[in-house]
Amino acid sequence: MNKKLLCLAIALLVLLSATWSQNLLDNEYQKAGREYEQQAKTAMNDGRYDEAAKFADLAAIEYRKSREYADMMLLKFRAANAINLAQRTITDVSSVKATADRYAAEIAQAKALLAEARALYDAENWIESRAKAEDSIALLKDIRRVDTPTASVSSSALVLPRYYTVVARPVNTDCYWNIAGMDGVYSDPFQWENLWHANKDAMKDPENPHLIFPGMVIEIPSLKGERREGTYDPDKDYSTLK
C-alpha cells in the first residue's frame, strides 16, 4: 500500500515538475512582459517615446508579477519535494519490521507531521508545509541511516547491502571509488559518483567527494532496481551476487 502511494507521489511529482517547468518559462506574466517590452522597443525606435515608456512600465509590472509567481512556485515545488522525501523516509523505515516496531512512536509522530505538511500544502501554505515535512524527515533520518540492522536480513537469503559504514584502512583506505568497486556495492569503481550524490546531505563538505570519515554510514542507492537491505557485512561474500 505504502509503495503504491510512494509510486503515485513520485509520478505526480514528475508530472508536476514538467508542468511547472513549462509554466514557469512561459508563464503568462513573463510572456506578457516580453511582448510589452518588445512593443516598447519598437515605439522607442520610432520616436514614440510616450508609448515606449507606457509599454516599458507595463512590461515591468508583468515581470514583477512573474517573479512573484516564480517565487510562489519555487516554494510550492520545495514543499512538494520535502513531502515526497518525508513519505519515502517513512516508507523506508517502516519497511524493516524490527525498526518499525522499535521506533513505532517516532514513526507515528513523523506520519502526523507529514499529515500536517500535506494539510498545509493543500492550504497553499508552502513554507510551513515544507517545514513540517522537514521535521518529519529529521525525526527519522538517523534511524534510517544507522539503525537498519543487518539481522533483519535473513541469513539464508543473502541480499545486497543498502548501507555501508566507512572504515579507515592502512592501505587502500575507504573512499567512494574504493567502496563502489567492492562486491556487494557496485563491483565497479566508476559508479562512485552515485554514492557521492546519494550521500551529500550527510557530508561535512558535500562538494568535496574526498571528505568521508570513518564511522560515517553511507547509503548505497539501487542502480537497476536491485533489492538492497541492511548494512554491508565485511565477513560476507557478496561476489556470488554479481
Partner: protein
C-alpha cells in the same frame, strides 16, 4: 602756364571724385549676414530635432516650428529679409524647444525600459533557480 592749368584741373577732378565717392550710399551688408546666421541656426536646430525624432515625439510643436521655418524661407524668397530674420530666429527657438521636450520624453522612456529590463533579469534569475532545483531533483530521483 598750360601745365599749371592742367595740374589744377586734374587736382580739382580728383577732389571732386573723392568727395562724390565718400558721399555715395553704401549697400546694407549687415542684415544679410544676420539672415544667413539665423537661417543656419534654424536649419541646425531642425536637423538636431529630427535626429531625436522630435517630429514624432512632439509632433505638434515640431509642426509649429516647421511652419514658421517654411514662412521664413518664403519671406527670404520674397526679399523680405527682416521678416525672414525674425521667423528664422523664432523657428530655431521652437526647434530647440521641440528637441528638449523630445529628449526629456526619450530619457523617461529609456529609464522605463531599463527598469523593465532589470525586472526581466530578476524574474529570469528566479526561473533559472527553479529549473536548476528541478534538474537536481530529477537527477537525484534517477539515481
Amino acid at each position: 602756364m598750360k601745365k599749371n592749368v592742367l595740374a589744377i584741373l586734374m587736382t580739382g577732378f580728383a577732389l571732386l571724385l573723392a568727395v562724390s565717392c565718400a558721399s555715395a550710399p553704401q549697400k546694407p551688408a549687415e542684415p544679410l549676414d544676420d539672415l544667413s546666421v539665423a537661417r543656419k541656426a534654424a536649419e541646425d536646430s531642425r536637423a538636431k530635432a529630427l535626429e531625436i525624432k522630435a517630429d514624432v515625439a512632439v509632433n505638434a510643436l515640431f509642426t509649429e516650428a516647421d511652419t514658421v521655418f517654411t514662412a521664413a524661407k518664403e519671406s527670404e524668397t520674397a526679399e523680405a529679409p527682416e521678416a525672414a530674420l525674425g521667423e528664422y530666429t523664432q523657428a530655431a527657438d521652437l526647434f530647440t524647444t521641440a528637441y528638449n521636450e523630445a529628449k526629456a520624453k526619450r530619457d523617461a522612456a529609456m529609464n522605463a525600459l531599463d527598469t523593465a529590463e532589470r525586472e526581466r533579469v530578476a524574474s529570469e534569475d528566479v526561473l533559472r533557480q527553479m529549473e536548476e532545483e528541478q534538474n537536481t531533483e530529477e537527477e537525484a530521483r534517477n539515481e
